[in-house]
């Protein structure tokens, strides 16, 4: 047995010695999740986008404190009078992290990549504003379907290659993206999109290094699709063009970013090295921060956050986000099993909204100081949109709510407290669908109590794992469900799109011809003020009358950091934090040393 133990000890020592210690980074932060992908075209989660924005650079960028557009690797650009043609002039000193020059052809490659269904880019739609882009995407999908239907004998590497070449020619001819010379990029839109520059600043449109990506692309003769692996996102193969390059990435453990000397604005970047550690358990993450393991924790997710906020001296900072927490109403005519859906009637949805005391929810249930919300779009967050803040939801008013419910035909006819319809059928028990593992159950309990007290309607909480919850939402197998939405770019459509008929994110089955028409007109409107007025009208419709969603509050994020020490953190609601703008204040007592 002694021998066995000795052997065990040997293995253990060997495993640990293999782990070389590294000098501490200039700045260490903790995230709750490891990045899912560093591929700009596929990143969607906030922590992924933060990495992409540190490793890569766009034609234009957002100023992290104002979210105005500032130059990226394009030093200037012009827009034609009709708002359809954008010409970007690239910097001569724009380079990849391996020193190669960055050219407009690299952007064309990356955008074509985003528009290939093969890539499965989540934000492919943001390029649909470009002339011919959506048609190209759809054509490629059709061609692939046709290819897959070919007899096996015809699905050869040659045919697949021919299809690929045809697709690339198609892109060159029909999509309005051109690179007339290495430092010029011309983009032609199908209709004016005043926020197109905002989209260019979004990480999904940052370019990738064509050669290193192509090295991981293979053509599948069976399907005709380009199969891509992601080895190129791992060091030392990852070649990027942003303020940092990736030095090390250990799965679910840590990552190390090092300043990229080839970045055109490298002199501005203060932190030489950044270490990112992944700590999934919320309480362990807080303990790690409190014991000095990190300079910044991206968000506090512990259940005891309210108590942390009440502590006299704490490093918790609350930031309001460009995002809204709401509960969805299923607006479909019928529920699962063909039962009639009372929420199909907008008056019923409005009545339920008026029975909810949002202030109480925020103060008694959440207890972390969120602002209540009546609108999906945070008021005052978008320049030129609803600047007089005239859009507002129905107020908390249980008496009016009951009257409205009666108007919709639901009256307590037998005196038992529960409203019945004309045939005496009581209002169905409302299922409140929530995902497990967060505060949603508490919110559902409070909402249930408010509906019972205000309207006499009974509720039942249905809690499911995230996957099952999301599945129910997509199948509209729910009555009311928790939800939320984060805006991606500085335009009302980033929120409003989710209410259009048939939109992939319209999980409520809401369909209004009037709303769709307003958005359709807005998309074609050249005059910015007119366009905003149309969008305001659309939001007014969904906020004051139709209420497919019941907004409750603005999301808040609670990063932990010492504000005296960590400089450059942005409080802007849209900020995902640009690491290249952060710095550490010099130690105050450093000068006192002899």
């Amino acid at each position: 047995m002694a021998l066995t133990l000795l052997l065990l000890a040997g293995v253990v020592v060997a495993a640990l010695v293999g782990d070389r210690p590294r000098p501490p980074a200039d700045f260490t932060y903790i995230d709750h999740q490891p990045p899912f992908t560093l591929d700009p075209q596929r990143a969607t989660y906030e922590h992924d986008l933060r990495f992409v924005s540190a490793l890569f650079d766009g034609l234009v960028r957002w100023d992290p404190y104002t979210y105005n557009i500032i130059p990226g690797f394009a030093k200037s650009w012009t827009v034609s009078d009709d708002g359809l043609r954008f010409t970007f002039h690239l910097r001569q000193d724009a380079r990849w992290s391996n020193g190669e020059p960055l050219t407009s052809a690299d952007v064309v490659y990356s955008w074509r990549r985003a528009l290939m269904p093969d890539t499965a880019a989540d934000y492919a739609e943001s390029l649909f504003h470009v002339r011919g882009a959506q048609e190209f995407f759809e054509r490629r999908s059709e061609r692939l379907t046709e290819y897959a239907a070919l007899p096996a004998s015809q699905r050869t590497p040659e045919t697949a290659r021919a299809l690929r070449e045809e697709t690339e020619r198609d892109f060159g001819v029909n999509v309005g993206i051109r690179a007339p010379d290495p430092l010029t990029l011309e983009v032609e839109l199908r209709a004016p999109a005043p926020y197109f520059l905002d989209l260019c600043a979004f990480p999904a449109l940052y370019p990738v290094h064509p050669e290193s990506v192509e090295a991981c692309v293979a053509l599948d003769p069976d399907t005709g699709r380009l199969e891509q692996t992601h080895e190129w996102t791992k060091p030392p193969r990852l070649i990027s063009n942003g303020p940092y390059r990736l030095d090390e990435w250990r799965f679910k453990r840590d990552m190390r970013l090092v300043r990229n000397p080839h970045y055109w604005d490298a002199d501005r970047v203060a932190l030489e090295t950044i270490e990112v550690r992944v700590v999934e358990d919320p309480a362990t993450a807080v303990l790690a921060f409190q014991t000095g393991a990190a300079d910044w924790l991206s968000d506090v997710l512990t259940g005891y956050l309210p108590e942390m906020l009440q502590a006299p001296e704490n490093d918790v900072h609350g930031f309001t986000r460009f995002a809204t927490y709401f509960w969805s109403f299923n607006c479909s005519p019928t529920l699962t099993g063909g039962r009639p859906n009372p929420f199909h009637d907008a008056r019923v949805r409005r009545a339920f909204a008026m029975a909810v005391d949002k202030q109480t929810l925020v103060e008694k249930v959440r207890r972390v100081g969120e602002e209540t919300a009546d609108t999906l779009i945070p008021p005052g967050s978008i320049a030129g949109y609803d600047e007089d803040r005239s859009i507002g939801g129905p107020p908390f008013d249980p008496a009016a709510a009951r009257a409205l419910l009666a108007e919709a035909g639901w009256v307590d006819r037998d005196g038992d407290g529960t409203p019945e319809d004309a045939s005496g059928e009581p209002f169905p028990v409302v299922d409140l669908l929530a995902s497990t593992g967060s505060y949603h159950e508490n919110v559902a309990l409070a909402l249930g109590a408010m509906f019972l007290e205000g309207l006499g309607v009974r509720t039942r909480i249905v809690q499911k794992e995230t996957k099952a919850y999301r599945d129910d939402l997509r199948r509209r197998d729910y009555m009311m469900a928790r939800g939320g939405w984060f805006g991606d770019y500085g335009d009302p459509t980033t929120f409003l799109d989710i209410h259009t008929t048939g939109d992939g994110n319209n999980l409520r089955g809401y369909s209004s011809a009037r709303f769709d028409e307003l958005l359709h007109h807005a998309a074609a409107e050249i005059d910015s003020a007119q366009r905003m007025a149309l969008l305001e009208e659309a939001e007014r419709l969904t906020t004051e009358e139709d209420l497919p969603v019941l907004p409750l509050w603005r999301y808040r994020q609670f990063p932990l950091y010492d504000a005296e020490r960590v400089r450059g953190i942005s409080r802007h609601p849209r900020a995902i934090q640009r690491l290249d703008y952060l710095s550490i204040a010099p130690e105050p007592d450093a000068k006192a040393e002899p």
Binding site: L8, T37, L38, P117, A120, A124, T229, T291, A293
Partner: protein
């Protein structure tokens, strides 16, 4: 002995195939989409369809055989659907050594604590030492590891400043999680050893040894313990396999980049390839450990060797 190894080696692929099939059936039945993200903007339906087609998620039969083919011919456990930049092989390459190190350490600690506590208890049944050892075992078995782990975390790195929270890479980082992970095993080993020892000390051969005039120490170490240790040995196989493939809770509390978390998270995320990958690897380790124990058993116990 060679025959045994040979037979087991032939059985193993069959056992693995059955495990693979059952896991596949259960994983396929999980609700929700494997490619759709939990939150945020959903991609266009064409993109979702393309992703499902790419991973054979639209056809259970081609998924079952396609994956099997990849595993058998290339040892390719597929891509992780959740962590898009990583293949399951890469995930396991990074996390399995961590879990094996921690697991072996935990089993080592459990063996020492468990055997000592068991022997001490058996030597003086009913004494305060026995009571203390039994209580320790009871605590080890019944207190959940997240309570023990959190308590140790609060007491040492947070309270006394010894070691660090959520660290991994230094030898000292291993101590608390290994101890936490070892306690349930230690408790069980203590119970097994104590029972075995009490029985052995009461047996004829020990009485004979005493009559021959051997010292108590010789009797204990040369005669009683090897026999009392047999049940522990058979328990060690699955215990080592379980410890070496990580523990969800211990990994969560101490933030250890091991394999254990994937057993739970892969199910919640419907990360099919990762789920099947970890199950197959766990099953292989379990089979290997059981074989190792059987071989050791024959070596320790002459009665089976015959």
């Amino acid at each position: 002995m060679i025959g045994l190894i040979f037979r087991r080696a032939l059985q193993a692929p069959l056992v693995l195939l059955v495990i693979y099939t059952v896991t596949f059936l259960l994983a396929w039945a999980l609700p929700g989409s494997a490619v759709l993200r939990d939150e945020g903007r959903a991609p266009p339906p064409e993109v979702l369809a393309a992703m499902e087609a790419r991973y054979n998620l639209d056809n259970p039969v081609s998924f079952y055989f396609g994956y099997l083919k990849g595993v058998v011919t290339r040892f390719d456990l597929g891509p992780s659907l959740r962590y898009a930049d990583w293949s399951v092989n890469e995930v396991l390459r990074d996390s399995l050594p961590v879990s094996i190190t921690l697991g072996l350490c935990a089993v080592g600690i459990a063996l020492v604590i468990g055997t000592v506590a068991g022997v001490v208890g058996a030597l003086r049944p009913g004494s305060w030492l026995d009571g203390a050892a039994l209580s320790l075992a009871l605590i080890g078995v019944s207190l959940p590891t997240f309570v023990i782990g959190t308590a140790l975390l609060l007491a040492f790195p947070v309270g006394l400043g010894w070691g660090r929270v959520a660290g991994w890479g230094r030898p000292s980082d291993m101590l608390l999680p290994a101890l936490t992970l070892s306690l349930p095993f230690a408790a069980y080993i203590a119970r097994l050893t104590r029972m075995g020892m009490i029985e052995a000390l009461d047996s004829d051969y020990v009485r004979t040894a005493r009559a021959k005039g051997l010292t108590e120490r010789q009797i204990l170490i040369r005669h009683a313990l090897p026999n009392a240790f047999l049940p522990v040995l058979s328990y060690l196989g699955p215990a080592a396999a379980a410890a070496m493939t990580g523990s969800f809770v211990v990994e969560k509390v101490f933030n250890i980049p091991g394999v254990g978390q994937h057993f739970v998270n892969a199910v919640l995320n419907k990360d099919l390839f990762l789920l099947m990958g970890v199950v197959l690897v766990y099953a292989t380790i379990l089979i290997a450990m059981n074989l190792l124990v059987d071989v050791l058993y024959r070596w320790v116990d002459p009665r089976i060797r015959a």
